[in-house]
Symmetry: C2
Amino acid sequence: MFSKATEYALRATIFIAQKGTEDNKIGIGEISKAIDSPPSFTAKILQALRKNNKIIRSVSGPNGGFYMTEKMRKLPVRAILEAMGENEMLDKCVLGLEKCSETKPCPMHSKYKIIKEQLIELFETKTIQHLADDIKNGAVFINNKSK
Amino acid sequence: MFSKATEYALRATIFIAQKGTEDNKIGIGEISKAIDSPPSFTAKILQALRKNNKIIRSVSGPNGGFYMTEKMRKLPVRAILEAMGENEMLDKCVLGLEKCSETKPCPMHSKYKIIKEQLIELFETKTIQHLADDIKNGAVFINNKSK
DNA sequence: ATAATTAAGGACAAATTTATCCTTAATTAT
DNA sequence: ATAATTAAGGATAAATTTGTCCTTAATTAT
Ligand code: FES
Ligand code: FES
């Protein structure tokens, strides 16, 4: 559904929301271990989420790392998708027509549209905070690596 | 949602179902023009759909080209997705966990699962024939290129 | 001030996906 | 038989995505 980069962005952000505060910042090492992602690549992605999109914060130096403010935690999942350029995906024709449109739709459009709307609603109503809380509550996971 | 290759596969197959019969085969030139796809790449894809997956048929030589039998037209969209290796996509965790599972789910799982099931049902119940018929009936299109 | 720690940033490498081109094989028409 | 037409198949190229590594900058502790 999403690119690797977006998957890492989502998992990392959820993990930071769960563990990172201004006075307990999380390093890239801990993050990439927790979410099972390549550290350098993940660092690149977090850099972008910080710089261009203000979805997370970071500080360099000892005890530095990543964290989120309350406000940032309340962002919907969709904010991360937008930051990662997956917005197009949520607006794309399932058969790859140039444009998903009501006036010149593909033969999957009428049925697919209904499902796509549910996806969008899910991504717009779920916040990072919700997801982080679910993990704290214990029934769900941010990593299910077998070994 | 799907790769370019899969999008071309779907559109090409729908177009062949709509126009190609044993005594009116469609050439790769006409197909790629109709669905707005790169001819050589499309040819590769159709080759595979023919050879490994028996979703379409073809013959070389003058008046050669691609076509489908009645039986082939009745295949669900999912058959093409399977042939194109997109099966994994329909079984994948939306956050990219190693495995989408009920026992160690990600925090999006419970809500996402419901939507994913609708997608799967759509792909399993819609047949190529249905989609081709919709185009014949005139309200939908296999190409909406602007220029 | 100096050393230690951690993210930022840039350059580069590997892998995958998308795409093209050319030769061969199959089929048909003359 | 020969020529013409069309898909099959292989080699290769271009583009994109994924990933690594190294140096620099920022921050903190001594
Ligand atoms: S036109 Fe294809 S999904 Fe809307
Ligand atoms: S575990 Fe993530 S979608 Fe099922």
